[in-house]
């Protein structure tokens, strides 16, 4: 059992099993849509978790990349009649390049300074999106044309459930492999102590930029899928509150845990749907539950529970 858990394929397999099992359990396309939203958020959160949980660098502007990915599949097909898949690819490429360009100066900063710099970066992208209305439709947003694959229009909650679920499994698989690679070890080393990492011969700046680029690409792909699922994008996808939501998902689910990323995304997407019955108290209850989770399960849901089970076993 222990050996199985530590195997590289374990985490992606658990997620794949979850996707398959839930497809039988969920009764209507509303539930499938909520689940698809969980998979999309989880994908972005896994990317952010690589940056925050493994490399120990915070980003308060990740929704910027998410928004760029979303607008790529909205704008490029509309302006240049590019296929949405190519547009998503282009979006990911652009996000990667931007992350590479801004990563080096920004990631020299530490702690609060890094937080503020990434925050500013995210706000810049959000402002650009909502101001350049000739291109992006401005604050009212713009429609995304439906994707056609091999002459077949991709639509319907169930189709998107499987596509986004598949993306998540692939994303988790890549992340797990990355973490287990020398890069992953280098990231954890610089998380613990940058000085020690440097002494051990790790090019700290290079690894930081590398993980920043990777996490930006994750966010961009997630943004593209959300835009394609919704068929409509608005600047909110890129705004500051969304960045905070992504960070909250990382922290609640558990820093440095791929499964935690899925759990964090699931909680923040599903809870508001459950709490609608409480009307005015909805936001209060949501806040309260977050606080309780953080107080009781201090290192996030998945790591805390895993530690608990391990202690029990001993």
């Amino acid at each position: 059992m222990q050996a199985l858990f530590s195997h590289r394929l374990a985490v992606p397999l658990v997620i794949a099993a979850l996707v398959v099992a839930l497809s039988f359990a969920l009764p209507s396309s509303f539930y499938l849509r909520v689940a698809a939203l969980v998979w999309i958020s989880a994908l972005a959160v896994i990317g952010l978790n690589l940056l925050m949980g493994y490399a120990g660098q915070v980003s308060l502007g990740h929704a910027g990349f998410f928004g760029l990915g979303a607008y790529a599949v909205a704008v490029l097909p509309a302006q240049f009649s590019l296929h949405p898949l190519l547009a998503a690819l282009a979006g990911a490429l652009v996000c990667g390049l931007i992350a590479f360009a801004v990563g080096r100066p920004i990631l020299k900063l530490k702690g609060h300074y890094l937080a503020v710099a990434t925050l500013g970066f995210g706000i810049l992208i959000a402002m650009a999106i909502s101001n350049e209305s000739w291109l992006t439709g401005g604050p009212d947003g713009m429609p995304v044309s439906r994707m056609t694959l091999f002459g077949w229009r991709v639509r319907g909650a169930e189709t998107w459930y499987w596509i986004t679920g598949g993306l998540l499994v692939v994303g988790a698989w890549i992340a797990v492999n990355l973490v287990a690679s020398p890069t992953g070890r280098a990231l954890r080393a610089l998380h613990d102590s940058e000085v020690a990492a440097r002494v051990a011969g790790i090019d700290v700046a290079r690894y930081k930029v590398r993980v920043f680029v990777i996490s930006a690409v994750y966010a961009s792909v997630a943004g593209s899928s959300l835009a394609l699922v919704n068929g409509f994008v608005t600047p909110e996808t890129a705004n500051f509150l969304h960045s905070i939501e992504l960070v909250t998902m990382v922290v609640v689910g558990g820093m440095g845990s791929i499964l935690g990323s899925v759990a964090g995304a699931a909680i923040l997407v599903v809870l508001p749907q459950l709490l609608t019955t409480f009307h005015e108290y909805e936001h209060m209850l949501l806040g309260l539950m977050m606080m309780v989770i953080m107080i009781v399960l201090r290192s996030g849901i998945v790591p805390s529970l895993a530690a608990l089970f391990q202690r029990r076993r001993k």
Binding site: A25, Y31, V34, L37, G141, E236, A266, T277, H279, H283
Partner: protein, 384 residues
Amino acid sequence: MTNLKTCLGGAALLAGAAMFAGTATAADTIKIGASLAVTGPASFLGDPEAKTLELYVDKINKDGGVNGKQLELIVYDDGGNANNARTFATRLVEDDGIVAMVGGSTTGATMAMVPVFEDAGIPFISLAGAVVIIDPVKEFTFKTPHTDRMACEKIFTDMKARGIAKIGMISGTGGFGKSMRGQCLDVVGSYGIEVVADETYGPKDSDMTPQLTNIKSAEGLQAVINPGFGQGPAIVTRNYRQLGIEVPLYQSHGVASKSFIDLAGDAAEGVRLPASALLVAEKLPDSDPQKAVVLGYKTAYEEATGQPVSTFGGHAYDGLMILVEAMKRAGSEDPAAIRDEIEKTSGFMGTAGVVNMSADDHLGLDLSAFRMLEIKDGDWALVE
């Protein structure tokens, strides 16, 4: 590991069960859905809309309901977020089983929801402003608020009557100002009016003197329009007077609230703007066919909530009433039948004006829906 898996699975099942529990309801009610921006930056729209819907659904139910059945209103708060709105729309259709939908406070939220209702074949009356919602016409989508284009046309009609041919524009860059600026530039040509200066300002700017100075120096300037929302127009109005610009200033329907007069103070004197009759309910002549409706709504809303009436709540009133009358005419709760009857709405007197819908007009308002107001002695006065 198995533990972990069971844990996650259990949580998901629990979640599913809880969602189910919330949806079990009696079968002999007519379910109407609404997804509104009750909280968040657009709550000035969603809050009066939600209150209005709740107030009038209660009233209708007390009076015996519709077609002998009680109405059941299901309101979700999308916070003005298009993604949330889309999820709630799916939920209302798939899970709550509504027969008709009112609301969508913002254009973004509305546009994100449109495909859900078009696919499901459920009539959807939006409460958002932009003209894209109903142009091109979509089979199941309607809306009640006037469009920006109509506000522009109303202003230009008034200008033409005053012999104004050269104007300056100073527009906010928020969603409202941006959209209205585009619409005004679109229609200005057909009124023989020329835009000689076109400036913009950001939503948080605190001084518009430079832009207004540019406008002031434009050759042959005869009037200025300020499409904008929030505090920007009040600042423009103050700066306008400080610079001593003498030509008439037109504001948009976006500032049609008492707080604009309060913010702009004396500078607001003489400013003209198009607005809904709701704003001047008491001042309408008794012969005005709209007076009874707007005064009735205003009194009911202010009594029930203790807050001043807003045009946005009025849009929700119009939407609900159009829907209820259509259901009465249809005599059933079949969404397709309701849709057909909504499209046949004619001569309906709402807070926004007379509504005459048709197969190629899912708004049904004409320019008479707007009243041209002028600010006199710190209060609204009817121009016409």
